[in-house]
Symmetry: C2
Subunit: 317 residues, 2 copies
Amino acid sequence: MNRAALPTFAQVQEAAARIAPYAVKTPVLRNTTLNALAGADLYFKCENLQRGGAFKFRGACNAVWSMDDAMATSGVVTHSSGNHGNALALAAATRGIPAHVVVPEDAVRTKLEAIERAGAILHRCVATQAAREAKADEVQRATGAELVHPFSDTRVMAGQGTAVLELLEQSGGLDAVITPVGGGGLIAGTAIAAHGVAPQIEVHGAEPAGADDAARSLAQGQRVGPFTPDTICDGLRTLIGETNFEALRMHRVEVTTVSDDEVVAAMRLLWNELKIVVEPSSATVLAAVLKRPERFKGKRVGLILTGGNVDLDALPW
Amino acid sequence: MNRAALPTFAQVQEAAARIAPYAVKTPVLRNTTLNALAGADLYFKCENLQRGGAFKFRGACNAVWSMDDAMATSGVVTHSSGNHGNALALAAATRGIPAHVVVPEDAVRTKLEAIERAGAILHRCVATQAAREAKADEVQRATGAELVHPFSDTRVMAGQGTAVLELLEQSGGLDAVITPVGGGGLIAGTAIAAHGVAPQIEVHGAEPAGADDAARSLAQGQRVGPFTPDTICDGLRTLIGETNFEALRMHRVEVTTVSDDEVVAAMRLLWNELKIVVEPSSATVLAAVLKRPERFKGKRVGLILTGGNVDLDALPW
C-alpha cells in the first residue's frame, strides 16, 4: 500500500463533497493570548471536535463511500493505534458495512473502548509495524474486507486534505499552514489541497523529537528506515509512508521537531486558553510555532488540531 | 442594585447588535453518544469558548458599550474575583476605558493575575460581602466609575440573553433550554430572550444541591435569605438576585437540583465526548437533563455551557 498514488487536488475536492453529509464542519478558534505569544495570527482548526474526536474520520469516510456496492459489502479492515481505527468504524457504520480493526497491544485504553463502541471487530497484535501489517493481511484474506491503510491510501489522503479546504475558507486565507506529521496522510492531503487553492501557501509539519523520521528523511534526502519511537505523542509514532514522503519533497514541506516537554507545555496552553481537550499529538503544531517565532512572525498561520482523545485519568502534568 | 429592572426582549436584541463586533459567536456542538444517554436531541452552546472563557463577557460588554461617552470616560467598577471581574476587564479594554475590580484578600492568585493581565486595576478588601460592597462604593465615589453588578443589572441581564438568541438560530429551533442558576443574570436574560422568540419554549434552570436557593425560593413562593453554599460549582455559590427571582416566577422556570457527584460525572462526559474544557458550574445542565429523562425525552434541548475556567492541576477526579 505504500506505493499508493497521491491524490490530485480534484480528488480532494470530490472528497469534500462526498463526506459533507457525514463529517462535522469543525469550528476555527482564535485567541489573543496565543497570538501575542506567537507574534502571529493563529487560526486553530478544531478537528478534535470532528466525529470520533479526530480528523481521521475525513479520510476513512472518503474511503468507505468511494467503494462500489459490491466491494463495500465485505466491509473494511485497517491497522491503527487508535484514531484511524475508530474513524473507520464510525465511517463504516454510516454505510452499514463491517469494520475490522487491528490494534497494537500498547494502544491507549480509551481509544480501544471507543473503537469497540463504534461497532468494530477488534484484532489484537504486538506493537510493531510488521506485525500490524501481517495481521491486517490475514484478516483481509479471511473476510474479503477492503484494506483502508491509515495514511498510504489515495482515498484517505484526499479525505484528510478536506480539513484545510474548510480552514482556508473559514479563515479568509492563510500565509502558512502546519499539521502534525506521523504516517503523513494529513500532511500530504494538506499540501495538495493548500497548493491547489494557492501555490504560495507555506506548508509546515511538526514532529516529536522522539519520532523525527520525516525531519531526518528530509535532511538526508531519502526516507530513513524503521525506528523505535520515544514520545508522548501516541498518534505520531509511525514511520512516514513512501508516497507521503514524496509529497513532503514535492511540496517543499518544512518539518520542525519539538520535545515532549514542549508538547506538554503547548497542550496546557491549548486547554487553558482555547478551553478545548486536545491530545499530545495535536499540541505539536503550537509547540513548533512557538519554538520558531522568527519563522512565523506576522503571518496568518493555520494550525490543524488533529484530535482530542486522551485518558482523563492519565494527563501528562 | 437588586431592584434593577428586567430587560425587555427589545433590549436583548439591541444588546446582540451592540456586542456583535466584540463577542465570539460561539459554536453549538452535538454528540450522538450524549443524545443516546439523554434520549433527547441536545444542542450544546459553548460559552466556554467565549472571550475570557465564559458567557459573562456578553453582559459586561453590553454594559460597557451602553454607556454614553461622558459616562464611559470614568470607567467601570465591580466586585468579583471570578469570571465577571475578568469579563468586565476585557470588555472595558475593547472601549479603552478603565476597569476597577474589587477583590477579596483570599482570592485565588491565578484568577487575580488573569484579571490584571486583562488590564484591570485591582482593589483589595477583606473577604466579606459587606466589605466588598463598601469598597466598590468607595472606588465608585473616588473615580466616578459606573457600577456594573454581576447579575442584578439590566444591561448585564440583556447581554446574557444574547447567547440563547444565537443558539435558537444555530439549532433551528428548540423545545426547551436549560442554564445554570447562580445570581440569576443568565437565566433571567435567557427566559426573556427565549420567550421573546417563541413563548412556548420551556425554560429550565440547573442548580447544585449545595446552593439550591433558587429551587427553595420557588418552592416557598418567596426568595429565601442568605445561606452558606457547599458545592464544587464555584460560579453558582451566590444568592439569586431579587429581580432575577421575579424573572424565574414570571417565566415559569423549572429548577432541577443536582449533587456534586452528578456534576462531576457530567463534567467528565462533556470533556470526553465533546472534547471541550468546561468548569463544574457548566456541567450542572447536562447533569439535570440526565437526571430527569422523563422530563426531556424526545425534545430538542439547548444547554448553555457557561464557562471553562478550571485549574488543570486540581481536577475533581
